[in-house]
Amino acid sequence: MDLDPSAEQRELQEMITRFSLDRFPTDIVRAAAEPGRFDRAAWRELAELGTFGIAVDEEAGGVGLRWIDAVLVHESLGAALTPGPLVAAALAAGLVDGVLDGSVVPAIVERPTHGPAFVEHLTSADVLLVIDQDGVSSIDPATVNTRALPTPTDPATPVSIIEELPSGDRLADADTARRWRLLGSLLASAQLVGIAEGSTTLAVAYANEREQFGRPIGSFQGLKHLLADCYARTEVARSALWAAGVLVDEPEAGDLMRAVAGTRVLAARAATENAKTGLQVHGGMGFTWEVDAHLFLKRAWVLETAFGSVDEAAEAVAASLEPGSISS
């Protein structure tokens, strides 16, 4: 048993963080959803680092590491607010040619049971992959009637609406679809944990620097305790995340489904609560567009709906407690 990242794993995370902050600084991030802003060159550079193929075999052109490594990478991407389609690329890299090297940009959506489909990053996508109960199918975005939203919630995540989602070409079976849903939830949770940490770091820096009543606001216990809670929520969620990440590679060592569902509950809570705290700690500046605090909150809102809701996840954990469930 070893649930502490190795020195190499930490270096991998630092490398991703450095690249992201350098190539996708927040002035780029905050406008990333505007039409024409998707930066293909930067995306290819991100791909060249191996970002999308961490867990893809070396023979297939990937890095040949494990899913826990991909989880760690997505944590760093989340903390840096790197714009997507990150989860879609990590899922599609092993299946769709060109995704691995960044030449083909994918978008993924779960086929909605009713109403229109809200698709992230469709405006920059070369291929749309649709997950449903029967499998994964691919659609050429040019052939579909889509409407790009003028004002997506997260200024870094462009969103399009598709009223009628065609059936497309079947690409993979139901097992792959199930696996994608599981891994998609996990990687989104990894980014949520990164967001939980990133928003706390930003708020702590401000609390150290901003003075009121003749001293730094971070010396007030009211803020200290809010920020300590942020730290604790991050570490608890991160613990769940790492255990779930390892279980993808070692499914015999525990209950993977439950671990992924439980991680979603805690990661979403940590990200949204911490981002809310982060905004509050910034006071009036926190309510301005110019301060990054809202970017963490809005990305958290987007990710917490990805590949299943928090309620569904809590329900799945509860179901695993019933006698006779596969889990218990």
Partner: protein, 395 residues
Amino acid sequence: MHLSDSDADAQFRAELRTWLAEAVPTLPSPPDPRDWPGRRAYDTLWQRMLFDAGYAGVNWPAEYGGRGATPTQHLIFLEEAATAKAPDVGVGFVGQMHAGPTLIAEGTPEQQAHHLRGILTGDHVWCQGFSEPGAGSDLASLRTRAIRDGDHYVVSGQKIWTSHAMVADYCELLVRTDTDAPKHKGISWLIMPMDLPGIEVRPLMTVQGSAEFAELFLDEVRIPVTNRVGEENDGWRVTNVTLSFERGTGFVGELLDTTNIMGELVELARRTPRGPGTAWDDDGLRRDIGAVAAELDALWAFTKRNVSQGAKGGMAMGSGSAFKMSYAAVVHRLGDIALRVLDRSSLAFDDIGEDRTGAQLHHKLKGFAVGIGGGTSQIQQNIIAERVLGLPRER
């Protein structure tokens, strides 16, 4: 990073599991929680069985009588023991988790020779005399006075909330040996045999209705100077050695116990009629329990993280604090759900019929013990804010 057992760990687990399956059923039925001599006898009987089987002090170094196992194997031991519903450390807590490790780190060879074996066999029960009526969170302001008289300290003062004091043989006692020095620099750490003249133990009733702890009144108790651990006035540092043992794996048994209580609550909810069905049919309730289960799983993973870090050289600063405050919070959340399920039967503090309803309420109250004892949740928040996040001190 991995979660599966190595071959050596798998073998350790298998042997332990076999032994536990044979040993646990031979125990007598547990005593009434209010029967202190009975509890001491029961807990120390189990400790003796562990000792004879080579499972006492699993994580203690072999040269001090322990098994010298890895931190991972210590965790496996705690996990398997709890799963087999073996008794927890009980009255052995202070000896095994605080006093013993402190003596290993700071004691003289004579002190080690005199005390360590007795802690491992269960013959010596210890208590912790740190807190005082005026010194809880601000422990360093303690006032129990020790005045040097030849080769003895003459000790007078009062301690409070001293767990298991009524059945203890020894007390790890913090005293003030220099009243002029700054508060952290005038404290010494003494081994106090509990049968010395001048010690009065008054049991103190807890909110759970049993006397888990006591007040200690010390009136000119003569303690040999050779019972001092560490240098005179260096007791605060020695204490922090002790406190660092308090976090880490200290809550594993509790965590698994809480998991069991949660399992019982699920069963209770599935049997409890509510509306046209049962309490378990309530989506809100089920999801709240799901969230609690997720958190308990996460805290178990957090423990593994801490143990993994510990094995590589030390837990990250703040991990123990984050764990403890989160654990206290989740015990409270679980207890709140229990009250929703119990509804009117929560008017009874005892178990009703077959249902362990009282156990749910007792466990809810335990959330306070976790959030207060050993440094309150607010103190943990201060530690995180100042020492991990680097926020400025208030003064």
